[in-house]
Structures are given as structure tokens and as C-alpha cells.
Amino acid sequence: MRFRTARSNCSLGVGRRVRVLSYGSVTALSRRYFDEIQVGEEYESPGRTVTEADIVIFAGLSGDYNVLHTDAEFMKQSIFGERIAHGLLGLAIQAGLFTRATAPYATLAFVGLRWKFKGPVKIGDTIRLRAKVIGKKETSKPDRGLIIVQRTVLNQRGEIVQEGETDLMVERRQRP
């Protein structure tokens, strides 16, 4: 019986492009299109504690071994008093938090961002994302539109550590 269900689900894909995302919990069928997303929508993500391991992995992955992130002794003398997370690690983590804050958009492309690093993220800090749709623009192509999302990354004390705007190109629903 289970096998049959799986087969009939598969048949949905015939003649339609159904992409199953690799994390399994979200499918292309539940994505939100340009037309459905409204200016003023707000989302808030769960929190995420940034650990020493996150920073070590990100240094290894990116190759950014700046003393700000890797030299505990040097950083004791700095204005921060200890190692801080890479700015881009915070940016990357908020991108992941966005996927946990709202149903996925039918995003065709990430077009760009304008971003400010306002304060340090230290080991053990818990960050969360607050996001709001602040603009929608039609483009020259009828099958897509631009969604502008304002994003604020806050720490456990409610202080803004990063903020900015991201531009996403999102698919429109096919017109009849």
C-alpha cells in the first residue's frame, strides 16, 4: 500500500516539473509565488546559538583565518575582549534561519544584498532573524518579479547585530 502511494505521488511529476528539495521537508508544490507574497508580511525565526565549532568550521570552509575569529589570546586585548564570529557566518546563518521562519518562496535567483554589520556575534550568543517584505517590483519578464526583504539579526539581548535588504527574483503563477 505504501508503495502504491509513493507511485501515485511520483505520477504527479509526470509532465510537470516537481523538484524535491534535498532536506525533504519542503517540496516545490508548497512554494509561494510572487503574486501571493504581500508587502508588509513579517516573519520571525527561531533562535540559533552560535558556537565555537561554527566559527572553526566557517574558518576552515572559507579560508578566512583572520585573528578576529581565530586567535583567542590576541582578541583578549581587543575592544571585543574575545573571538567574534565572521560577519559572513552571521549572514549565512540568517539565510538558513529565513528558511525556518516562513514557507519557501518560489525563488528563481538571489539577486543581491545591501548589508551592515552593526555589532559582534560572540561565542554562545543566540541570534534570530526578523524579516519583513518591504517591496515588490514587476520586471520586464512576465514570469517573474522582484521581492525586497528587509532583515534584522538580533542577539539574545535584543541588540541588532546585522541588518540589511535582500533582493529575490521570484516566480509568478502562470496566468490562465
Binding site: 523538484r19 528539495l21 534535498s22 532536506y23 519542503v26 561554527d54 568550521i57 566557517f58 570552509l61 572559507s62 579560508g63 578566512d64 583565518y65 583572520n66 585573528v67 578576529l68 590576541f74 575592544i79 565572521h86 560577519g87 559572513l88 557566518l89 549572514l91 549565512a92 546563518i93 539565510a95 538558513g96 528558511t99 525556518r100 519557501p104 535567483a109 538571489f110 539577486v111 543581491g112 544584498l113 545591501r114 548589508w115 551592515k116 554589520f117 540589511g164
Partner: protein, 137 residues
């Protein structure tokens, strides 16, 4: 501490980094770290080349900027990057503005793939330390 202080920063000099081939291992580590959702098996998340461009900047034979703080990014994604692509970075300092103990430096960066096409580009703003008595050249 060794490095390029604000006074040492050359405006307009172009710097090119070695290349980096993006593998599925890079993508898997990145997705595990961030829990971003992958589009498909060979798509590279758009923020990953942006992260690599900073690490690549450390692979040129020049002391790195003594960055006190990373202030901001304006970034454009022009083309998608796939697993197996090899990227490198071309960078150029376009502005430096002195302040009391440090200075603001704006750098333009392009991420270029193996076909020579610019896939991402934008501007980074850094706060860079000035030399002190102890670090005077």
C-alpha cells in the same frame, strides 16, 4: 602585528587571487552549518562564493588588511555557480577615508569563473587600523 595598516593601503591597485574549485563537499559543509535549503544537487548556495572571496584574499603574497571591523557589503549575484566551477577574485581598493584611530576602506570585488565571466560582484567596507607607536613601519 604584521599586516597592511590604513597608511599602507594602495588605492586602485588590482589584486588577483589564485583559484578555488567548488566541490560538493564545500556545499555539504555549508548546508550543514547554515541549514539553507539546496536547490538541487549541483547548485552552489549564492552566499558561498561570497564567503570564499574573503578566504581567497588571504592567499595573495601581501600582508592582509588589519581589519578592526567589517562594516558592510553591497553585493550583486549575476550568474549561478555550479559544483565543479573554479572561481577566483579580482579586488581593488577604490576609496580610503581617515578617521581618528582607524580609517574606512572601500574595496570592489569581482568573483570570476573559469570561463572568465563575472558571477558575483560588489563592495566591501572595512574599518582598518592605523599604525601606532608600536606598529610604526
Amino acid at each position: 602585528m604584521t599586516g597592511s595598516y590604513f597608511e599602507d593601503v594602495p588605492v586602485e591597485a588590482v589584486e588577483e587571487t589564485p583559484g578555488l574549485t567548488i566541490t560538493s563537499a564545500h556545499v555539504a559543509i555549508y548546508l550543514g552549518l547554515t541549514r539553507e535549503l539546496a536547490e538541487d544537487d549541483t547548485a552552489v548556495p549564492d552566499l558561498l562564493p561570497l564567503a570564499f572571496t574573503i578566504g581567497l584574499g588571504w592567499r595573495v603574497p601581501k600582508p592582509p588588511l588589519v581589519v578592526r571591523a567589517f562594516m558592510g557589503i553591497d553585493w550583486q549575484v549575476l550568474r549561478s555557480v555550479r559544483v565543479g566551477d573554479t572561481i577566483m577574485t579580482r579586488a581593488r581598493i577604490v576609496t580610503k577615508r581617515p578617521m581618528r584611530d582607524a580609517g574606512v576602506v572601500i574595496e570592489e570585488r569581482e568573483v570570476i569563473d573559469q570561463r572568465g565571466e563575472v558571477v558575483q560582484r560588489g563592495r566591501f567596507t572595512y574599518l582598518v587600523a592605523k599604525r601606532t607607536k608600536e606598529t610604526r613601519a
